[in-house]
């Protein structure tokens, strides 16, 4: 993923006029089908990365699609791409703002993504439709203090085995993922009162610690210590796919 583009201030600002969806490639057959309908490489398969801008109903491409922003927005700087995004957004002016909690599909994926993003993970323990999750927590996720600062997930209590330090009364936890996103540790917690939620999110941001990550060293150490990720569906790009083809 092109972090150098997506972490630019101009691009982040421009993204606020969109609904931003980031799928984990190779983790869902249904989502792979969606990706395939948007862009495939010459060999007819999806690749590790896809980038596209679509109409609000998801049916129409508003730019070309491809592996990264250059494919969709042409060669240019992040600032130029951000301007193009803003032009596209202007054509879809709306007074409605996102209000739903922007969760990952499940806790396993959320932990891994939080480690990739080097951000804390917020886990709401309960059902997604519970009012304190769907209303109070979701509202805070789009608040200026918290937008774009966390990875979000909901989970039931029996799905929390990978998280260390969960208390019996905890309803909301902020989790520090390990470097590989396979386990995590609770760094802030609360019951579900709205005032306590904001306080817990702030405490989580304060307690979260992360340093630089050297990708090559991370991968070598991961291979040596058997930190393995098993994608849900077949990988069709990179060394894994090439090994399969031989």
């Amino acid at each position: 993923m092109d972090r150098s583009f997506l972490s630019q201030k101009d691009v982040i600002e421009a993204s606020r006029d969109f609904v931003c969806i980031r799928l984990a490639t190779y983790e869902s057959a249904a989502e792979a089908k969606v990706l395939k309908s948007i862009w495939v490489s010459r060999d007819g398969d999806i690749k590790n990365t896809t980038f596209a801008i679509l109409s609000p109903d998801g049916r129409r491409l508003l730019t070309d699609a491809g592996r990264g922003p250059d494919w969709a927005l042409g060669r240019g700087s992040a600032a130029e791409h951000a301007q193009q995004m803003t032009r596209i957004a202007r054509e879809h002016r709306t007074s409605q703002s996102p209000a739903a909690l922007p969760t990952c599909a499940d806790l396993r994926r959320a932990l891994n993504i939080a480690a990739c993003d080097m951000q804390p993970l917020v886990v709401a323990i309960g059902k997604p439709g519970e009012p304190w999750i769907a209303k109070s927590l979701a509202k805070l996720a789009w608040n200026d203090d918290f937008i774009g600062r966390f990875v979000w997930a909901t989970a039931s209590r029996d799905e929390l085995d990978a998280i260390d330090g969960v208390g019996a009364k905890d309803k909301l936890i902020v989790v520090q993922p390990d470097d590989y996103g396979l386990t995590g540790t609770v760094i802030a917690r609360s019951a579900s009162r709205p005032t306590a939620i904001a306080k817990t999110l702030r405490a989580g941001l304060d307690a979260f610690r992360v340093g630089e990550k050297d990708s090559r060293r991370h991968i070598r150490r991961g291979q040596r210590t058997d930190k393995q990720w098993k994608p849900a569906i077949e990988v069709t790009d990179g060394p894994t796919a090439r090994r399969r083809d031989r």
Partner: protein, 73 residues
């Protein structure tokens, strides 16, 4: 002689182009400094919100592993 020079120049340019395109992406990833893009992590969740708000969709997909090692895009 001139043909040889042209061929050598062309080969050198090709080698340069290959070297440039083969530059690995930066190995060291720094933690985000402040708010980032706010991502929906599922197609269904994001699409429902895009339909409701009538906002266009910025869609990205990426594999959260490299050589099957998690924790890195």
């Amino acid at each position: 002689m001139r043909v040889t020079r042209v061929v050598v120049a062309a080969l050198s340019l090709s080698a340069l182009a290959i070297t440039a395109s083969a530059q690995p992406r930066p190995s060291v990833v720094t933690p985000p400094a402040g708010p980032q893009v706010a991502w929906f992590g599922t197609w269904a969740g994001g699409l429902a919100e895009a339909k409701r708000t009538k906002r266009p969709i910025l869609l990205v997909s990426a594999a959260p592993h490299c050589r099957m090692v998690p924790g890195v895009w």
